[in-house]
Protein backbone atom coordinates (compact mmCIF):
# COMPACT_ATOMS: atom_id res chain seq x y z
CA UNK A 1 0.00 0.00 0.00
CA UNK A 2 2.67 2.43 1.05
CA UNK A 3 4.77 1.54 -1.99
CA UNK A 4 1.81 2.22 -4.22
CA UNK A 5 1.25 5.62 -2.63
CA UNK A 6 4.91 6.50 -2.92
CA UNK A 7 4.84 5.67 -6.61
CA UNK A 8 1.86 7.90 -7.27
CA UNK A 9 3.63 10.51 -5.13
CA UNK A 10 6.62 10.38 -7.45
CA UNK A 11 4.33 10.69 -10.47
CA UNK A 12 2.70 13.82 -9.02
CA UNK A 13 6.06 15.00 -7.82
CA UNK A 14 7.60 14.84 -11.28
CA UNK A 15 5.12 17.52 -12.36
CA UNK A 16 5.90 19.66 -9.32
CA UNK A 17 9.56 19.19 -10.16
CA UNK A 18 9.00 20.59 -13.65
CA UNK A 19 7.22 23.65 -12.27
CA UNK A 20 9.98 24.16 -9.71
CA UNK A 21 12.55 23.73 -12.47
CA UNK A 22 10.92 26.44 -14.57
CA UNK A 23 10.99 28.76 -11.56
CA UNK A 24 14.63 27.98 -10.83
CA UNK A 25 15.69 28.58 -14.45
CA UNK A 26 14.22 32.07 -14.51
CA UNK A 27 15.50 32.87 -11.04
CA UNK A 28 19.02 31.73 -11.81
CA UNK A 29 19.40 33.83 -14.91
CA UNK A 30 17.41 36.95 -14.04
CA UNK A 31 16.88 36.75 -10.26
CA UNK A 32 13.19 37.21 -10.97
CA UNK A 33 10.50 35.21 -9.24
CA UNK A 34 7.87 34.16 -11.73
CA UNK A 35 4.44 33.88 -10.18
CA UNK A 36 2.95 33.05 -13.60
CA UNK A 37 4.77 29.72 -13.99
CA UNK A 38 1.62 27.69 -13.29
CA UNK A 39 -0.55 29.78 -15.60
CA UNK A 40 2.04 29.22 -18.32
CA UNK A 41 1.42 25.47 -18.00
CA UNK A 42 -2.30 26.07 -18.09
CA UNK A 43 -2.15 28.19 -21.25
CA UNK A 44 0.11 25.67 -23.01
CA UNK A 45 -2.18 22.80 -22.14
CA UNK A 46 -5.14 24.74 -23.54
CA UNK A 47 -3.25 25.53 -26.74
CA UNK A 48 -2.60 21.81 -27.22
CA UNK A 49 -6.27 21.14 -26.48
CA UNK A 50 -7.29 23.62 -29.19
CA UNK A 51 -5.02 21.92 -31.72
CA UNK A 52 -6.29 18.39 -31.30
CA UNK A 53 -9.84 19.06 -30.25
CA UNK A 54 -10.92 21.95 -32.44
CA UNK A 55 -8.46 21.68 -35.31
CA UNK A 56 -8.38 17.88 -35.33
CA UNK A 57 -4.61 17.43 -35.39
CA UNK A 58 -3.08 14.21 -34.13
CA UNK A 59 -1.93 14.29 -30.53
CA UNK A 60 1.85 14.11 -31.15
CA UNK A 61 1.68 16.86 -33.80
CA UNK A 62 -0.50 19.00 -31.53
CA UNK A 63 2.00 18.61 -28.70
CA UNK A 64 4.94 19.46 -30.93
CA UNK A 65 3.22 22.63 -32.17
CA UNK A 66 2.22 23.51 -28.61
CA UNK A 67 5.78 23.31 -27.39
CA UNK A 68 7.02 25.51 -30.23
CA UNK A 69 4.31 28.07 -29.50
CA UNK A 70 5.11 27.88 -25.78
CA UNK A 71 8.74 28.77 -26.43
CA UNK A 72 7.67 31.67 -28.65
CA UNK A 73 5.23 32.87 -26.00
CA UNK A 74 8.09 32.83 -23.52
CA UNK A 75 10.07 35.18 -25.75
CA UNK A 76 7.05 37.42 -26.31
CA UNK A 77 6.20 37.64 -22.61
CA UNK A 78 9.77 38.47 -21.70
CA UNK A 79 9.94 41.21 -24.34
CA UNK A 80 6.55 42.65 -23.53
CA UNK A 81 6.36 42.81 -19.76
CA UNK A 82 9.62 41.72 -18.16
CA UNK A 83 12.24 43.59 -20.14
CA UNK A 84 10.68 47.04 -19.72
CA UNK A 85 11.14 46.57 -15.99
CA UNK A 86 14.60 45.10 -16.19
CA UNK A 87 16.20 47.92 -14.20
CA UNK A 88 13.34 48.03 -11.69
CA UNK A 89 13.64 46.36 -8.27
CA UNK A 90 12.81 42.64 -8.19
CA UNK A 91 9.86 43.57 -6.02
CA UNK A 92 8.27 45.28 -9.05
CA UNK A 93 8.93 42.36 -11.36
CA UNK A 94 7.32 39.99 -8.86
CA UNK A 95 4.18 42.14 -8.92
CA UNK A 96 4.33 42.17 -12.74
CA UNK A 97 4.40 38.37 -12.89
CA UNK A 98 1.56 38.29 -10.38
CA UNK A 99 -0.37 40.54 -12.77
CA UNK A 100 0.68 38.34 -15.67
CA UNK A 101 -0.70 35.26 -13.94
CA UNK A 102 -4.13 36.78 -13.40
CA UNK A 103 -4.21 38.21 -16.92
CA UNK A 104 -3.46 34.77 -18.35
CA UNK A 105 -6.08 33.13 -16.17
CA UNK A 106 -8.85 35.55 -17.05
CA UNK A 107 -7.99 35.57 -20.76
CA UNK A 108 -8.05 31.77 -20.75
CA UNK A 109 -11.45 32.02 -19.07
CA UNK A 110 -12.71 34.26 -21.90
CA UNK A 111 -11.36 31.99 -24.61
CA UNK A 112 -11.96 28.50 -23.22
CA UNK A 113 -14.40 29.12 -20.31
CA UNK A 114 -13.78 27.89 -16.77
CA UNK A 115 -15.11 24.36 -17.37
CA UNK A 116 -13.18 21.16 -16.82
CA UNK A 117 -12.20 19.19 -19.92
CA UNK A 118 -10.91 15.62 -20.10
CA UNK A 119 -7.45 15.52 -21.66
CA UNK A 120 -5.83 12.60 -23.45
CA UNK A 121 -2.38 11.44 -22.45
CA UNK A 122 0.30 10.39 -24.90
CA UNK A 123 0.83 7.40 -22.65
CA UNK A 124 -1.60 4.45 -22.60
CA UNK A 125 -4.19 4.52 -19.84
CA UNK A 126 -3.28 1.07 -18.53
CA UNK A 127 -1.74 -0.42 -15.44
CA UNK A 128 0.93 -3.05 -14.84
CA UNK A 129 1.54 -4.95 -11.63
CA UNK A 130 4.94 -4.93 -10.03
CA UNK A 131 4.91 -7.18 -6.98
CA UNK A 132 2.00 -6.01 -4.82
CA UNK A 133 1.80 -2.58 -6.39
CA UNK A 134 -0.17 -1.54 -9.46
CA UNK A 135 1.62 1.02 -11.52
CA UNK A 136 -0.22 3.15 -14.03
CA UNK A 137 1.58 3.86 -17.25
CA UNK A 138 0.57 7.52 -17.37
CA UNK A 139 2.34 8.13 -14.08
CA UNK A 140 5.34 6.14 -15.22
CA UNK A 141 5.40 8.04 -18.50
CA UNK A 142 5.27 11.35 -16.65
CA UNK A 143 8.23 10.38 -14.49
CA UNK A 144 10.17 9.21 -17.55
CA UNK A 145 9.41 12.40 -19.49
CA UNK A 146 10.61 14.51 -16.60
CA UNK A 147 13.86 12.55 -16.37
CA UNK A 148 14.48 12.84 -20.11
CA UNK A 149 13.76 16.57 -20.10
CA UNK A 150 16.17 17.04 -17.22
CA UNK A 151 18.90 15.23 -19.12
CA UNK A 152 18.30 17.33 -22.23
CA UNK A 153 18.52 20.50 -20.18
CA UNK A 154 21.64 19.27 -18.46
CA UNK A 155 23.34 18.69 -21.82
CA UNK A 156 22.08 22.05 -23.06
CA UNK A 157 23.51 23.97 -20.13
CA UNK A 158 26.73 22.03 -19.98
CA UNK A 159 27.73 21.75 -23.62
CA UNK A 160 25.99 24.31 -25.82
CA UNK A 161 26.95 27.90 -26.51
CA UNK A 162 23.64 29.33 -25.30
CA UNK A 163 23.71 27.17 -22.23
CA UNK A 164 27.20 28.25 -21.28
CA UNK A 165 26.26 31.89 -21.86
CA UNK A 166 23.25 31.50 -19.60
CA UNK A 167 25.35 29.96 -16.86
CA UNK A 168 27.73 32.88 -17.19
CA UNK A 169 24.85 35.34 -16.87
CA UNK A 170 23.53 33.62 -13.78
CA UNK A 171 27.02 33.71 -12.27
CA UNK A 172 27.55 37.43 -12.77
CA UNK A 173 25.57 39.56 -15.17
CA UNK A 174 28.08 42.38 -15.47
CA UNK A 175 31.09 40.14 -15.93
CA UNK A 176 29.22 38.09 -18.51
CA UNK A 177 28.27 41.28 -20.34
CA UNK A 178 31.89 42.45 -20.36
CA UNK A 179 32.99 39.08 -21.72
CA UNK A 180 30.76 39.68 -24.72
CA UNK A 181 27.79 37.58 -23.65
CA UNK A 182 24.52 38.92 -24.99
CA UNK A 183 22.73 39.20 -21.67
CA UNK A 184 19.37 40.22 -23.13
CA UNK A 185 19.42 37.28 -25.46
CA UNK A 186 20.10 35.01 -22.51
CA UNK A 187 17.02 36.42 -20.80
CA UNK A 188 14.92 35.67 -23.89
CA UNK A 189 16.25 32.14 -24.16
CA UNK A 190 15.64 31.59 -20.45
CA UNK A 191 12.01 32.60 -20.72
CA UNK A 192 11.59 30.50 -23.85
CA UNK A 193 12.98 27.41 -22.11
CA UNK A 194 11.03 28.08 -18.97
CA UNK A 195 7.75 28.46 -20.87
CA UNK A 196 8.62 25.28 -22.76
CA UNK A 197 9.21 23.39 -19.53
CA UNK A 198 5.90 24.82 -18.28
CA UNK A 199 4.30 23.55 -21.47
CA UNK A 200 5.60 20.03 -20.88
CA UNK A 201 4.35 20.21 -17.29
CA UNK A 202 0.93 21.35 -18.49
CA UNK A 203 0.60 18.58 -21.05
CA UNK A 204 1.63 15.95 -18.49
CA UNK A 205 -0.58 17.40 -15.77
CA UNK A 206 -3.83 17.91 -17.68
CA UNK A 207 -4.60 14.19 -18.23
CA UNK A 208 -4.17 13.57 -14.50
CA UNK A 209 -6.24 16.41 -13.04
CA UNK A 210 -8.44 17.48 -15.98
CA UNK A 211 -7.82 20.58 -18.03
CA UNK A 212 -9.19 23.76 -16.50
CA UNK A 213 -8.21 27.37 -16.00
CA UNK A 214 -7.67 26.61 -12.30
CA UNK A 215 -4.68 24.44 -13.13
CA UNK A 216 -2.30 27.36 -12.70
CA UNK A 217 -2.55 27.08 -8.93
CA UNK A 218 0.08 24.33 -9.28
CA UNK A 219 2.56 27.21 -9.09
CA UNK A 220 2.09 27.05 -5.32
CA UNK A 221 3.24 23.43 -5.30
CA UNK A 222 6.09 24.50 -7.55
CA UNK A 223 7.10 27.16 -5.05
CA UNK A 224 6.82 24.69 -2.20
CA UNK A 225 8.96 22.18 -4.12
CA UNK A 226 11.57 24.77 -5.04
CA UNK A 227 11.75 26.10 -1.49
CA UNK A 228 11.90 22.60 -0.04
CA UNK A 229 14.70 21.63 -2.39
CA UNK A 230 16.54 24.92 -2.03
CA UNK A 231 15.55 28.01 -3.97
CA UNK A 232 17.53 28.46 -7.18
CA UNK A 233 19.09 25.01 -7.08
CA UNK A 234 18.27 22.85 -10.10
CA UNK A 235 18.90 19.47 -8.43
CA UNK A 236 17.01 20.91 -5.45
CA UNK A 237 14.00 21.64 -7.67
CA UNK A 238 13.90 18.00 -8.78
CA UNK A 239 14.37 16.50 -5.35
CA UNK A 240 12.01 19.00 -3.74
CA UNK A 241 9.38 18.27 -6.37
CA UNK A 242 9.54 14.51 -5.98
CA UNK A 243 9.63 14.76 -2.19
CA UNK A 244 6.67 17.13 -2.11
CA UNK A 245 4.73 14.76 -4.37
CA UNK A 246 5.39 11.91 -1.95
CA UNK A 247 4.46 14.01 1.10
CA UNK A 248 1.33 15.12 -0.73
CA UNK A 249 0.24 11.54 -1.25
CA UNK A 250 1.41 10.02 2.02
CA UNK A 251 0.07 12.71 4.37
CA UNK A 252 -3.62 11.80 3.88
CA UNK A 253 -2.80 8.26 5.04
CA UNK A 254 -1.88 9.50 8.49
CA UNK A 255 -3.87 12.73 8.83
CA UNK A 256 -7.44 13.73 7.99
CA UNK A 257 -7.79 13.81 4.22
CA UNK A 258 -8.36 17.59 4.14
CA UNK A 259 -4.65 17.96 4.91
CA UNK A 260 -4.02 17.63 1.17
CA UNK A 261 -5.30 21.17 0.58
CA UNK A 262 -2.70 22.75 2.76
CA UNK A 263 0.32 20.45 2.36
CA UNK A 264 2.24 22.84 0.06
CA UNK A 265 1.52 25.78 2.34
CA UNK A 266 2.58 23.86 5.41
CA UNK A 267 5.77 22.82 3.62
CA UNK A 268 6.53 26.41 2.58
CA UNK A 269 5.84 27.67 6.07
CA UNK A 270 7.78 25.00 7.93
CA UNK A 271 10.80 25.10 5.62
CA UNK A 272 10.97 28.88 5.70
CA UNK A 273 10.76 28.94 9.48
CA UNK A 274 13.19 26.10 10.18
CA UNK A 275 15.61 26.09 7.27
CA UNK A 276 15.02 28.85 4.74
CA UNK A 277 17.66 27.64 2.34
CA UNK A 278 15.98 24.27 1.91
CA UNK A 279 17.64 20.92 1.42
CA UNK A 280 20.18 21.70 -1.27
CA UNK A 281 20.24 25.47 -1.33
CA UNK A 282 23.27 27.58 -0.63
CA UNK A 283 23.33 30.52 1.73
CA UNK A 284 23.24 33.67 -0.36
CA UNK A 285 25.05 36.80 0.66
CA UNK A 286 24.11 40.20 -0.58
CA UNK A 287 26.76 42.65 -1.53
CA UNK A 288 26.07 46.22 -0.53
Amino acid sequence: MLLQVIFSGLATGSIYALVALGLALIYNTTEHVNFAQGEMSMVSAFIGFTFFNFLGLSLPLAILLTLIISALLGIIVERLVIRPAIRAPHFNVFIITLGLSIVMKSLAGFIWSHNDYPYPSIFPDETISVGSATIDLIGLGNIATTVVLMLILYVFFKYTRYGTAMRAVSENQNAAFLMGVNVYQSFSVTWAISFLVAGVAGILMAPVIFLSTHMGIVVINGFAAAILGGWGSIPGAIIGGLLLGVIDNVAPLYFPSQIKNIVPFMVIFVVLVIRPRGLMGVERFTKV
Binding site: V103, M104, S106, I227, Q258, F269, L272, T286
Partner: protein
Protein backbone atom coordinates in the same frame (compact mmCIF):
# COMPACT_ATOMS: atom_id res chain seq x y z
CA UNK B 1 -0.46 73.08 8.96
CA UNK B 2 -1.94 76.26 7.59
CA UNK B 3 -5.43 77.51 8.31
CA UNK B 4 -6.75 76.84 4.82
CA UNK B 5 -5.92 73.15 5.00
CA UNK B 6 -7.54 72.74 8.42
CA UNK B 7 -10.70 74.48 7.24
CA UNK B 8 -10.72 72.34 4.11
CA UNK B 9 -10.40 69.16 6.16
CA UNK B 10 -13.22 70.21 8.50
CA UNK B 11 -15.47 71.10 5.57
CA UNK B 12 -14.69 67.73 4.00
CA UNK B 13 -15.56 65.91 7.21
CA UNK B 14 -18.86 67.72 7.61
CA UNK B 15 -19.71 66.95 3.99
CA UNK B 16 -18.86 63.28 4.54
CA UNK B 17 -21.04 63.09 7.65
CA UNK B 18 -24.12 64.68 6.12
CA UNK B 19 -23.68 62.79 2.83
CA UNK B 20 -25.73 59.72 3.89
CA UNK B 21 -28.83 61.87 4.29
CA UNK B 22 -28.93 62.26 0.52
CA UNK B 23 -28.09 58.67 -0.37
CA UNK B 24 -29.98 55.41 -0.65
CA UNK B 25 -29.25 52.41 1.56
CA UNK B 26 -27.12 50.67 -1.03
CA UNK B 27 -24.88 53.67 -1.66
CA UNK B 28 -24.37 54.01 2.07
CA UNK B 29 -23.41 50.36 2.25
CA UNK B 30 -20.93 50.88 -0.57
CA UNK B 31 -19.36 53.88 1.13
CA UNK B 32 -18.97 51.81 4.29
CA UNK B 33 -17.36 49.02 2.28
CA UNK B 34 -15.06 51.59 0.76
CA UNK B 35 -14.03 52.73 4.24
CA UNK B 36 -13.31 49.12 5.26
CA UNK B 37 -11.17 48.61 2.15
CA UNK B 38 -9.40 51.89 2.85
CA UNK B 39 -8.39 50.55 6.27
CA UNK B 40 -7.08 47.31 4.79
CA UNK B 41 -5.31 49.31 2.14
CA UNK B 42 -3.61 51.55 4.69
CA UNK B 43 -2.63 48.52 6.76
CA UNK B 44 -1.18 46.70 3.77
CA UNK B 45 0.54 49.83 2.52
CA UNK B 46 2.30 50.35 5.85
CA UNK B 47 3.89 46.94 5.42
CA UNK B 48 4.31 46.76 1.66
CA UNK B 49 4.54 50.33 0.43
CA UNK B 50 6.39 51.84 3.36
CA UNK B 51 8.46 48.95 4.70
CA UNK B 52 8.89 47.13 1.38
CA UNK B 53 7.77 43.66 2.50
CA UNK B 54 5.53 41.88 -0.02
CA UNK B 55 2.55 40.61 1.93
CA UNK B 56 0.35 38.25 -0.04
CA UNK B 57 -1.87 36.99 2.78
CA UNK B 58 -3.82 39.95 4.11
CA UNK B 59 -7.12 38.24 3.51
CA UNK B 60 -5.96 36.05 6.41
CA UNK B 61 -5.69 39.00 8.80
CA UNK B 62 -9.04 40.29 7.59
CA UNK B 63 -10.51 36.86 8.37
CA UNK B 64 -8.89 36.83 11.83
CA UNK B 65 -10.40 40.21 12.72
CA UNK B 66 -13.78 39.34 11.27
CA UNK B 67 -14.12 35.96 12.99
CA UNK B 68 -12.75 37.30 16.25
CA UNK B 69 -15.40 40.01 16.20
CA UNK B 70 -18.20 37.64 15.30
CA UNK B 71 -17.27 35.09 17.96
CA UNK B 72 -16.48 37.51 20.76
CA UNK B 73 -19.55 39.67 20.30
CA UNK B 74 -21.83 36.65 20.21
CA UNK B 75 -20.30 35.22 23.43
CA UNK B 76 -20.14 38.47 25.42
CA UNK B 77 -23.15 40.41 24.28
CA UNK B 78 -22.76 43.43 26.55
CA UNK B 79 -19.31 44.28 25.29
CA UNK B 80 -19.25 47.64 23.46
CA UNK B 81 -18.43 47.25 19.80
CA UNK B 82 -15.53 49.70 20.03
CA UNK B 83 -13.87 47.44 22.60
CA UNK B 84 -14.56 44.39 20.44
CA UNK B 85 -13.01 46.09 17.42
CA UNK B 86 -10.00 47.16 19.42
CA UNK B 87 -9.52 43.63 20.73
CA UNK B 88 -9.96 42.23 17.22
CA UNK B 89 -7.24 44.57 16.03
CA UNK B 90 -4.97 43.64 18.93
CA UNK B 91 -5.58 39.93 18.40
CA UNK B 92 -4.76 40.19 14.71
CA UNK B 93 -1.81 42.45 15.56
CA UNK B 94 -0.35 39.87 17.96
CA UNK B 95 -0.65 37.18 15.28
CA UNK B 96 1.01 39.59 12.85
CA UNK B 97 3.79 40.21 15.34
CA UNK B 98 4.29 36.46 15.85
CA UNK B 99 4.29 35.92 12.10
CA UNK B 100 6.84 38.70 11.75
CA UNK B 101 9.38 36.93 13.98
CA UNK B 102 10.18 33.92 11.77
CA UNK B 103 9.88 36.16 8.72
CA UNK B 104 12.76 38.28 10.01
CA UNK B 105 15.13 35.66 8.66
CA UNK B 106 13.59 35.87 5.22
CA UNK B 107 14.08 38.23 2.35
CA UNK B 108 12.08 39.51 -0.60
CA UNK B 109 9.90 36.97 -2.23
CA UNK B 110 10.26 34.42 0.60
CA UNK B 111 8.20 36.83 2.64
CA UNK B 112 5.57 36.87 -0.09
CA UNK B 113 5.48 33.07 0.00
CA UNK B 114 5.34 32.83 3.78
CA UNK B 115 2.52 35.38 4.02
CA UNK B 116 0.67 33.72 1.16
CA UNK B 117 0.91 30.40 2.98
CA UNK B 118 -0.22 32.10 6.19
CA UNK B 119 -3.35 33.46 4.50
CA UNK B 120 -4.35 30.06 3.18
CA UNK B 121 -3.61 28.27 6.45
CA UNK B 122 -5.80 30.77 8.33
CA UNK B 123 -8.80 30.17 6.11
CA UNK B 124 -8.21 26.41 6.31
CA UNK B 125 -8.09 26.55 10.11
CA UNK B 126 -11.31 28.56 10.15
CA UNK B 127 -12.90 25.97 7.90
CA UNK B 128 -11.76 22.99 9.99
CA UNK B 129 -12.25 24.35 13.51
CA UNK B 130 -16.00 24.17 13.13
CA UNK B 131 -16.82 23.89 16.85
CA UNK B 132 -15.66 27.50 17.17
CA UNK B 133 -16.23 28.98 13.74
CA UNK B 134 -19.15 26.91 12.45
CA UNK B 135 -16.93 25.86 9.56
CA UNK B 136 -18.47 25.65 6.13
CA UNK B 137 -21.88 26.86 7.28
CA UNK B 138 -20.54 30.28 8.08
CA UNK B 139 -21.35 32.35 11.11
CA UNK B 140 -23.80 35.16 11.80
CA UNK B 141 -22.43 38.37 13.25
CA UNK B 142 -24.44 40.00 16.06
CA UNK B 143 -25.43 43.63 15.70
CA UNK B 144 -22.79 46.08 16.92
CA UNK B 145 -23.94 47.77 20.12
CA UNK B 146 -22.50 50.36 22.43
CA UNK B 147 -24.10 51.09 25.82
CA UNK B 148 -27.50 49.92 24.62
CA UNK B 149 -27.37 51.74 21.28
CA UNK B 150 -27.53 49.31 18.39
CA UNK B 151 -25.97 49.99 15.00
CA UNK B 152 -28.71 47.99 13.38
CA UNK B 153 -28.91 49.61 9.94
CA UNK B 154 -26.42 50.41 7.19
CA UNK B 155 -27.18 54.04 7.88
CA UNK B 156 -26.06 53.84 11.53
CA UNK B 157 -23.16 51.55 10.75
CA UNK B 158 -21.84 54.07 8.25
CA UNK B 159 -21.08 56.49 11.08
CA UNK B 160 -19.32 53.83 13.14
CA UNK B 161 -17.21 52.59 10.23
CA UNK B 162 -16.34 55.96 8.80
CA UNK B 163 -15.41 57.38 12.20
CA UNK B 164 -13.11 54.47 12.99
CA UNK B 165 -11.55 54.75 9.55
CA UNK B 166 -10.97 58.48 9.85
CA UNK B 167 -9.36 58.17 13.28
CA UNK B 168 -7.08 55.35 12.14
CA UNK B 169 -6.21 57.21 8.94
CA UNK B 170 -5.11 60.26 10.93
CA UNK B 171 -3.07 58.02 13.23
CA UNK B 172 -1.45 56.36 10.23
CA UNK B 173 -0.58 59.73 8.72
CA UNK B 174 1.10 60.73 11.94
CA UNK B 175 2.85 57.41 12.16
CA UNK B 176 4.39 57.58 8.70
CA UNK B 177 5.53 61.15 9.20
CA UNK B 178 7.08 60.32 12.54
CA UNK B 179 10.13 58.38 13.66
CA UNK B 180 8.61 54.94 13.09
CA UNK B 181 7.44 55.77 9.58
CA UNK B 182 10.84 57.10 8.64
CA UNK B 183 12.44 53.95 10.01
CA UNK B 184 10.07 51.90 7.82
CA UNK B 185 11.05 53.86 4.73
CA UNK B 186 14.75 53.54 5.57
CA UNK B 187 14.30 49.76 5.80
CA UNK B 188 12.55 49.72 2.45
CA UNK B 189 15.29 51.69 0.74
CA UNK B 190 18.17 49.62 2.11
CA UNK B 191 18.12 47.29 5.07
CA UNK B 192 21.85 47.37 5.48
CA UNK B 193 22.11 51.16 5.27
CA UNK B 194 19.23 51.51 7.73
CA UNK B 195 20.96 49.21 10.19
CA UNK B 196 24.21 51.12 9.96
CA UNK B 197 22.48 54.32 11.02
CA UNK B 198 21.11 52.53 14.05
CA UNK B 199 17.65 51.38 13.00
CA UNK B 200 16.82 48.13 14.78
CA UNK B 201 15.80 45.91 11.88
CA UNK B 202 14.13 43.19 13.93
CA UNK B 203 12.16 45.68 16.01
CA UNK B 204 10.81 47.79 13.16
CA UNK B 205 10.00 44.91 10.85
CA UNK B 206 7.96 43.15 13.52
CA UNK B 207 6.32 46.46 14.41
CA UNK B 208 5.40 46.92 10.76
CA UNK B 209 3.84 43.46 10.70
CA UNK B 210 1.97 44.06 13.94
CA UNK B 211 0.58 47.48 12.95
CA UNK B 212 -0.37 46.28 9.49
CA UNK B 213 -2.17 43.29 11.00
CA UNK B 214 -3.84 45.56 13.59
CA UNK B 215 -5.32 47.79 10.87
CA UNK B 216 -6.45 44.83 8.83
CA UNK B 217 -7.90 43.16 11.93
CA UNK B 218 -9.98 46.22 12.81
CA UNK B 219 -11.06 46.40 9.18
CA UNK B 220 -12.05 42.73 9.50
CA UNK B 221 -14.23 43.54 12.52
CA UNK B 222 -15.97 46.37 10.69
CA UNK B 223 -16.34 44.10 7.66
CA UNK B 224 -18.05 41.51 9.86
CA UNK B 225 -20.52 44.06 11.29
CA UNK B 226 -21.20 45.37 7.82
CA UNK B 227 -21.92 42.15 5.96
CA UNK B 228 -23.41 40.40 9.07
CA UNK B 229 -22.54 36.90 7.84
CA UNK B 230 -19.08 35.34 7.44
CA UNK B 231 -18.05 32.29 5.52
CA UNK B 232 -14.49 30.99 5.24
CA UNK B 233 -14.52 30.97 1.44
CA UNK B 234 -14.71 34.78 1.36
CA UNK B 235 -11.09 35.11 2.41
CA UNK B 236 -9.17 33.72 -0.54
CA UNK B 237 -5.78 34.24 -2.17
CA UNK B 238 -7.64 36.20 -4.84
CA UNK B 239 -8.81 38.66 -2.20
CA UNK B 240 -5.23 39.11 -1.00
CA UNK B 241 -4.19 39.77 -4.60
CA UNK B 242 -7.01 42.31 -4.96
CA UNK B 243 -5.61 44.10 -1.94
CA UNK B 244 -2.16 44.19 -3.51
CA UNK B 245 -3.68 45.52 -6.74
CA UNK B 246 -5.47 48.16 -4.68
CA UNK B 247 -2.29 49.66 -3.27
CA UNK B 248 -0.25 49.23 -6.46
CA UNK B 249 -2.85 51.19 -8.42
CA UNK B 250 -3.51 53.72 -5.69
CA UNK B 251 0.11 54.27 -4.87
CA UNK B 252 2.58 52.43 -2.69
CA UNK B 253 4.06 54.31 0.18
CA UNK B 254 1.23 56.81 0.35
CA UNK B 255 -1.79 57.08 2.65
CA UNK B 256 -3.67 59.06 0.01
CA UNK B 257 -2.78 56.34 -2.48
CA UNK B 258 -4.26 53.71 -0.17
CA UNK B 259 -7.57 55.54 -0.15
CA UNK B 260 -7.53 56.07 -3.91
CA UNK B 261 -6.87 52.35 -4.31
CA UNK B 262 -9.83 51.51 -2.08
CA UNK B 263 -12.07 53.80 -4.15
CA UNK B 264 -10.93 52.04 -7.32
CA UNK B 265 -11.42 48.54 -5.90
CA UNK B 266 -14.92 49.33 -4.66
CA UNK B 267 -15.78 51.10 -7.91
CA UNK B 268 -14.54 48.24 -10.07
CA UNK B 269 -16.39 45.64 -8.02
CA UNK B 270 -19.49 47.73 -8.47
CA UNK B 271 -19.26 48.59 -12.16
CA UNK B 272 -18.09 45.13 -13.19
CA UNK B 273 -20.24 43.13 -10.79
CA UNK B 274 -21.04 39.82 -12.48
CA UNK B 275 -18.18 40.24 -14.95
CA UNK B 276 -15.61 38.70 -12.68
CA UNK B 277 -13.24 37.72 -15.49
CA UNK B 278 -13.18 41.22 -16.91
CA UNK B 279 -12.60 42.65 -13.45
CA UNK B 280 -9.67 40.31 -12.85
CA UNK B 281 -8.30 41.03 -16.31
CA UNK B 282 -8.35 44.77 -15.69
CA UNK B 283 -6.67 44.29 -12.30
CA UNK B 284 -3.99 42.11 -13.88
CA UNK B 285 -3.29 44.53 -16.71
CA UNK B 286 -3.16 47.44 -14.29
CA UNK B 287 -0.69 45.60 -12.05
CA UNK B 288 1.62 45.16 -15.05
CA UNK B 289 1.13 48.61 -16.56
CA UNK B 290 1.46 50.47 -13.27
CA UNK B 291 4.55 48.53 -12.27
CA UNK B 292 6.25 49.26 -15.59
CA UNK B 293 5.21 52.85 -16.17
CA UNK B 294 4.02 54.25 -12.83
CA UNK B 295 5.46 52.26 -9.94
CA UNK B 296 4.27 54.98 -7.58
CA UNK B 297 0.65 54.57 -8.63
CA UNK B 298 -2.00 57.24 -9.03
CA UNK B 299 -0.99 59.19 -5.94
CA UNK B 300 2.58 59.34 -7.24
CA UNK B 301 1.26 60.66 -10.53
CA UNK B 302 -0.78 63.35 -8.78
CA UNK B 303 2.27 64.33 -6.80
CA UNK B 304 4.42 64.58 -9.96
CA UNK B 305 1.80 66.72 -11.71
CA UNK B 306 1.61 69.01 -8.69
CA UNK B 307 5.38 69.40 -8.70
CA UNK B 308 5.39 70.21 -12.39
CA UNK B 309 2.57 72.70 -11.93
CA UNK B 310 4.37 74.35 -9.01
CA UNK B 311 7.66 74.61 -10.88
CA UNK B 312 6.04 76.08 -14.00
CA UNK B 313 4.40 78.87 -11.98
Amino acid sequence: MDKKKVLGAIAGLIALYILPMFLGNYSIFLLSMLAVYALVSIGLNLLMGFTGQIAAGHAGFLALGAYFTAILSSRIEWMPCIVVLLLAGIFSGIIGFLLGIPILRLKGFYIAMATLAFGVVVSEIILQWSSLTNGDNGINVPVATIAGFAFDSDYKLFYLIVSVTIILTILATNLVNGYIGRAFIALRESEVAAQTIGIDLAKYKTIAFAISAFYTGVAGGLFAYLITYLSPDAFTIELSVDFIAMIVIGGMGSILGSIIGAVILTGMQQILAGLLDLQILIFGISLIVFMIFMPKGISGMIFDLKERFASSK
